[in-house]
């Protein structure tokens, strides 16, 4: 396991925030992997969806937050529909994104987006992107 830089209390606090924002009990997940089996984006993720939850369960929240997975999650809700334990993983992914954004680490900053991209992107796309990634 990697060395932890955060204290136990800080980690507990982040887990609490994840649970609060998502409204999910992360300990309900029994690691069956069904979410991941049917996840359209799992192949692109550095940490599989079920493993993201495992990381949080183990207190390795920094690893979960550092991972790209939350940004790749398409928020398609397939995992939520299939989870036998009724864990809404899409909400947990959202909670991770929200924490990152609130802590000042959004995926994209408006000023860093190239002009051409803004030119080419449909307005709806820009709005959605900022809603999800910022």
């Amino acid at each position: 396991m990697p060395t932890k830089t955060k204290t136990k209390a800080e980690i507990a606090d982040i887990i609490k925030r994840i649970e609060l924002i998502s409204g999910e009990n992360i300990y309900k997940c029994y690691q069956c992997g069904k979410c991941t089996a049917g996840c359209v984006m799992a192949g692109e993720m550095d940490i599989s969806p079920y493993k993201v939850i495992r990381m949080i369960q183990l207190g390795l929240v920094e690893k979960a937050l550092e991972s790209e997975s939350m940004w790749l999650c398409a928020a398609c809700f397939a995992c939520r529909e299939r989870c036998p334990k009724e864990v809404d993983l899409s909400k947990i992914m959202e909670a991770l994104r929200v924490i990152q954004v609130r802590d000042g680490k959004p995926l994209i900053e408006p000023e860093e987006v190239a002009d051409e991209v803004i030119e080419e992107m449909p307005q709806q796309g820009i709005v959605s992107a900022f809603r999800k990634y910022n």
Binding site: G33, T36, A37, G43, Y50, A78, R82
Partner: protein, 659 residues
């Protein structure tokens, strides 16, 4: 005033760490009516009981209060001790200061105050106690077994061997239940029929067993030792007494249809017997499919039958039987595939369940044991088995583990690999639950010797693409998503209570859990008794389990019945309702309220002044009454009273607590 003794138990540290037991006994010493009070480390121990006995005798006590654990635990212990000391056992009352004081509080002062209050109220109750005497009730030494699977047959044979008559009621035309459909059995791979048919044959010929197949219990009244049941015998349309079992009718019948016994994997005729070793080996006509019943023409069976025993006009019969005990052995069914949307909802021919696999692997099944897939009869080159299909699944309302599927899936994969050596058998599992003698070794054999591939993870979807079944899963051990094209998919669907179990429970007045499995009286100490006296449980009717466990439990249930029948009469609890005929106005408001139907009207002669008068009053059937007390609450004239929990006693208790 009565001389009452109070004993406060420490229960080691269980009570004494949170309740000041010494203070409690000291305070009770000064309570009006208390002649003696003391505390002791373990009252339930031998010396503890001796102390109680000696104190009763030495002080000529007329009632005692034991402040200890729940009366469910030791009420009978302390009542027996009192009886041995010459005190009527119903003058002993328990105050539960463990579950209701020490275990549920942390503040010692408050817990002690509460315990003292509770003990004082019990003292008030004992002041109003009376001697009560159990009654003898008669007993019919005949048992009704419901369900003719391996559990019901085991019970029937054990009780019959002990010399008591048995009625075995089975809803299907033949006995054997689900085990009769199995191919080979884990963990020894012996053929199911080979070990089952000696049992079915013995049940069929045993002189103490009356077999009623194609029948169902539709009503049950009475009480333990003395039940009256009505059995509906559905028509078979064949006179089974005359029939010689030549099966010419089955051979010649022109109407083919799907066989329930084969779970859709094979066909049968409109007049048929389910399988070659069926007991009884007699045919039955299915009214739904028979051409004659539909069109009024055909009657080929009538023409071919050499002994003229087809009876199209047969009607159902209701039979009444008096019996002393009932054993529920109604078994299980499997969760319908239609409820598993992600696995095709039952619309793909080559997605089958475990029982369907048993049929195509069974030597006496529709494929004669050659594992062929249903859609085109080809031998599958790759089979995917999906465990926990619908089990351990809160979303589908079945959070429980079905217990048997890990083992039978390993068996299925093994049977397949033994036939198709180069075939691929892949099992998706969450955990391998192989707790049992030789079970883990069996699973390891499948992995090591037969090269069955176990992938740890649940399958998200099974769907069809270009005519092939695709299984989308994951292996959480490697972290990889897995996509497999399969020729056949076998779902280890959840074990559910047999269809109709809940209704049967209502008929018998026996409780079932949220899923419909029958409730045992105590999860550890009374696993074969139901909450209803005289009704016992065996096999999968109570919970999913495999054959060895089913047989053990069924043998236990049989032992309970035999113990009950070894006595010449039964003893009833005297803590039942009692009518004061002088006050009862005969309004019978109590009658509909009694859940056990124990109240009936009766005409009695009562003296009013100097003349005798006839009038209606309520009477209690002491065998039926379970002492719930509902009637005594309903009675407006206060004539109904529950012995051992009389209105006066409860009022005194409440006064002590509330005033």
């Amino acid at each position: 005033m009565k001389k009452i003794g109070v004993f406060v138990c420490w229960c080691g540290l269980n009570i004494s760490s949170t309740v000041d037991v010494e203070k409690a006994s000291e305070e009770l010493k000064n309570y009006p009516g208390v002649f003696y009070a003391d505390d002791y480390k373990y009252l339930c121990s031998d010396p503890g009981q001796e102390l109680i006995k000696k104190t009763i005798v030495d002080n000529k006590l007329e009632g005692i209060v034991v402040a200890a654990c729940s009366p469910n635990m030791h009420e009978s212990t302390f009542r027996a001790a009192a009886e041995a000391a010459g005190l009527n056992p119903y003058r002993v009352e328990i105050t539960n200061i463990r579950e209701q004081a020490s275990w549920v509080h942390s503040n010692k002062e408050d817990a002690t105050a509460k315990a003292i209050q509770l003990i004082k109220s019990t003292v008030e109750k004992v002041k109003k106690s009376e001697d009560l005497f159990p009654q003898q009730i008669p007993l019919t030494k005949k048992v009704l077994v419901i369900g003719g699977g391996i559990s019901g047959m085991t019970v029937a044979l054990e009780v019959a061997e002990a010399g008591y008559p048995v009625i075995l009621v089975e809803k299907e035309p033949q006995i054997g239940g689900n085990m009769a459909k199995l191919s080979e059995t884990f963990p020894t791979l012996d053929c199911a029929s080979c070990i089952l048919t000696p049992k079915t044959a013995e049940v069929g010929r045993h002189s103490n067993i009356t077999l009623m197949t194609n029948s169902e219990v539709i009503e049950s009244t009475g009480y333990f030792g003395n039940f009256t049941v009505k059995v509906k015998r559905k028509p078979t349309f064949v006179d089974w007494k005359k029939c010689i079992g030549c099966m010419l009718c089955q051979e010649k019948c022109p109407k083919k249809t799907n066989s329930d016994f084969e779970h859709g994997m094979g066909k049968r005729k409109a007049i048929s017997v389910a399988f070659p070793q069926a007991i009884p080996y007699r045919p039955i006509i299915s009214e739904k499919e028979c051409i004659y019943f539909k069109t009024g023409k055909c009657k080929i069976c009538v023409k071919v039958c050499p002994v003229d025993c087809i009876e199209f006009e047969q009607e159902e019969k209701i039979i009444e039987e008096n019996i002393g005990a009932i054993v529920v052995a109604s078994g299980y069914d499997l969760l319908p595939k239609e409820e598993l949307g992600e696995y095709g909802q039952g619309k793909y021919a080559d997605v089958i369940d475990g029982m369907q696999f048993e049929r195509i692997a069974s030597a006496s099944g529709p494929t004669e044991g050659v594992i062929k897939r249903p859609s085109d009869g080809k031998i599958p080159k790759s089979i995917v088995f999906i465990q926990c299909a619908g089990s351990r699944d809160n979303q589908k309302g079945r959070p429980y583990c079905s217990k048997i599927c890990c083992m039978y899936t390993a068996k299925h994969a093994m049977l397949y690999k033994h036939q198709v050596h180069d075939g691929e058998a892949t099992i998706f599992y969450m955990d391998i639950r192989a707790g049992g003698k030789g079970y883990e070794e069996f699973v390891q054999r499948a992995i090591e010797d037969d090269h069955v591939l176990y992938l740890r993870g649940r399958v998200a979807r099974v769907y069809e693409e270009d005519g092939r079944l695709v299984v989308l899963g994951v292996d959480t051990l490697s972290g990889e998503q897995v996509r497999i094209e399969a020729d056949l998919v076998v779902l280890a669907t959840a074990v559910i209570p047999s269809i109709g179990a809940k209704a049967l429970g209502q008929t018998l007045k026996v409780g079932t859990d949220t899923y419909g499995f029958f409730n045992e009286a105590h999860p550890k100490l009374k696993p074969v008794e139901s909450m209803t006296k005289g009704v016992f449980l065996a096999g999968c009717a109570q919970a999913p389990r495999d054959i060895p466990e089913t047989v053990s439990q069924a043998t236990g249930a049989a032992a309970k019945v035999i113990t009950m029948f070894s006595k010449n009469h039964l003893v009833s609890d005297p803590q039942v309702a009692k009518v004061n005929e002088k006050i009862c106005v005969g309004c019978l408001l109590c009658k509909p309220i009694c859940p056990y139907k124990a109240i009936e009207p009766e005409i009695v002669e009562v003296r009013v002044g100097c003349r005798a008068e006839k009038r209606q009053v309520a009477t209690i059937n002491k065998g039926l009454c379970q002492g719930c007390g509902a009637c005594s609450v309903a009675c407006r004239s206060g004539a109904m009273n529950l012995s051992g929990f009389s209105n006066e006693q409860i009022l005194e208790e409440l006064k002590s607590l509330c005033l």
